[in-house]
Symmetry: C2
Subunit: 416 residues, 2 copies
């Protein structure tokens, strides 16, 4: 490989996005790259020439092991959206200026739908302006909603966290079965796609009753039908645990969390900050039936729970980073590494590079056939799909009783 490379992280962090950085670093070093830079806070920091030299952290192989065990974005993240090219050529030129300054010939960007758009825009600009630099996408999103790829690195670990936590919540909730049943409503991330909430189905097994109902955003949420379901469950069960997506919405288009909060704030990508669906429903159930209720939001923990990450996920996150570098070395640009499943049992999965134009800004939903006909259950087809993704563990390095992480000095010291 000629020249240096840079890798950046973007969008909501995951438990394993740092493993992708480790994979990029390892492949680049194997291919004889001199400098492997990290963007401090993604493309936003890169535009301000904020870089870190990954040799400072990863030359020592214990650094790589700690990086795999560190949650969130080691390099810092951003939610910066590249503007359309026309009229904003200066922003694009700035990216190439920083690249040229450091002799960076390859740019790798780990992220979800919005971040893949950045890769698309930069590779389009390079093609249109005869630039030789190459741009590759590295998939990352707990939401699992990128198209083409079988699944997304980050999803398996979140699914493992969600299923593990639900098993613990179900046991906790069942302990008071001697009283009237407590209705526990657990809110899981996913604004339009229900992949994360579907993972609640994985909790069920010979040692766990599983959750009693699962509501995905793929189905219109009917408040009356929900209340009727709760009523029936509360009459037949001594403990009721229900999983709902933060993004469940009613026929009139309003999110459930907006029932008591009409003006949810909006982020830089124009997405509403959703939170409170479980609390809203718990309040309604308590008010109508006089039952004890509890709302649990798994919140950011479901994307940051590296201490219980899936080893399969860690390895795949590493692999897509590694293979992005190999593909770029082979001359590819404007593509993203996808995961291609060859077999369910035993699970076999390879990678391939795919045109980023077919991926950026496209959202993949949970297939219809994996949602039960009652609209609040998940079929075995999903479990067969998801189970391999949560397999295996990478034991944390415990120091003073807590999992040890690795910090990037430049990120901690980042100045606005």
């Amino acid at each position: 490989m000629k020249g240096n490379i840079v890798v950046g992280q973007s969008g909501g962090p995951t438990a394993v996005i740092n493993s992708s950085v480790a994979g990029v670093y390892a492949a680049a070093k194997k291919l004889g790259v001199n400098k492997v830079y990290g963007m401090v806070h993604g493309i936003e920091g890169f535009l301000k020439d904020k870089l870190t030299d990954l040799d400072d952290y990863l030359q020592d192989d214990i650094g790589i092991e700690l990086l795999k065990r560190t949650p969130s974005a080691f390099l810092g993240s951003c939610r910066f959206k590249m503007p359309k090219i026309e009229g904003h050529e200066d922003v694009y030129e700035k990216v190439f200026e920083v690249m040229e300054k450091h002799d960076i010939q390859y740019l790798f960007y780990a992220g979800g739908n919005d971040s893949m758009d950045t890769v698309k825009m930069l590779s389009d600009y390079a093609a249109e302006h005869g630039k030789s630099q190459k741009f590759m996408g590295v998939p990352k999103t707990i939401d699992n909603d990128l198209p083409i790829t079988d699944h997304c690195p980050g999803y398996g670990s979140s699914a493992k966290y969600i299923a593990t936590s639900l098993k613990e919540i179900i046991r906790d909730n069942a302990s008071f079965g001697a009283e009237k049943p407590t209705i526990c409503i657990v809110e899981i991330m996913g604004r339009h796609a229900g992949w994360l909430t579907a993972a609640a189905a994985l909790a069920k097994g010979p040692d766990c009753e599983g959750v009693d109902a699962i509501y995905l955003p793929e189905r219109t949420f009917d408040v009356d039908a929900f209340m009727e379901k709760v009523k029936v469950l509360s009459e037949t069960r001594s403990s009721v645990v229900i999983a709902v997506s933060e993004g469940i919405a009613m026929a009139d288009g309003r999110f459930v969390c907006e029932i008591n909060n009409e003006n949810a704030p909006v982020d830089a990508f124009g997405h509403k900050q959703l939170s409170g669906a479980a609390a809203t429903l718990a309040q309604m159930v308590a008010g109508k039936f006089g039952l004890k209720t509890r709302a649990v939001e798994l919140s950011t923990l479901q994307r940051a729970g590296t201490h219980i990450a899936s080893l399969t996920d860690i390895n795949e996150a590493y692999q897509v980073g590694y293979d992005a570098v190999v593909a770029a070395d082979q001359g590819k640009t404007g593509e993203m590494i996808i995961l291609k499943r060859d077999n369910d049992e035993p699970y076999e999965c390879g990678t391939s590079a795919y045109d980023i134009h077919a991926i950026a800004n496209v959202e993949r939903h949970v297939p219809d056939e994996w949602i039960g006909s009652d609209g609040c259950s998940i079929t075995e087809g999903y479990v067969k799909y998801a189970r391999p993704l949560i397999m295996g563990e990478l034991v944390p390095v415990y120091v003073n009783g807590l999992p040890r992480h690795i910090l990037c000095k430049e990120v901690i010291e980042y100045e606005k």
Copy 2:
């Protein structure tokens, strides 16, 4: 030991209360006890003669290992409060009737303040009525608020969960440092005592900035001072994470979570269900400063997170169960096993039996000298006290990618 024994679990479950059952079982078997019964759903189920034979689950030693790794109350719990003796002799007689029916000579009850009251009442009744049966308390509470004992089994594992989760939350929150700082407010259990919230101080280390402020219920919560603190932090930090106890209350006596919700529901012990302090404060901060905020409630996960339980805690929970049986065998009754720390470094801790009358219904708070003079920080004295309690891990038995638990059939099938 003559006759049979029974063990019950009561009050809010913990990550390690099942280890105490394992300890009781192991000691009883060692001492040649024939039948070791478990109360299904505590004294409430016992009054209905709902028992399980622990041989069915624990004779196989893999059963004991799974029990140590199973969160919440394996035997089911209850919040049943024994009535005062006068005028309710029938309730007490019923307890002895069930004991006699099964030739139960010893009763062990694992729980917190309220549950120790049950042990006190039953042993008082036995003394007053010339009954020979013995009653021993086994300490258990994540709240760590029992007096006399150095600490309470259950606390160390919750503290480990809280500190681990906060390390992950802090990394997650820091990833967006390129934007305006996000103010993340994390709500931790503890209605009057701040032990659990103090555990937030353990997150800090060479690989973690730690939380920026910690608010315990031991200090009156001043909303204006809090807002000023947030303002200063938001101007000097690119990420702000604050830990608050669910029980923080203002000078007028109202809980912070009651600011927007005057009529919090009340449980069987007359305790208000507290929840929403973080959400309330996050809303106030967002409204006043226009900053992005996030409220995270660690909720029941902090008491059910057995997958990351402290091995020290598991061993001590086992030991207090074991030693309660040994003490009863030596003729003790109306006492609770306490933990006596002999040394901090290396950590050494033994047990002893102590008069239950000095323990029941008494709440121990975080000592003044462990709370910083600013009222929102924790001193090194606390860290020195708490660090040994979170040390060590017991790796879960992973099956199909998830920690395996053990279920008690009689609890699952309990009929109202």
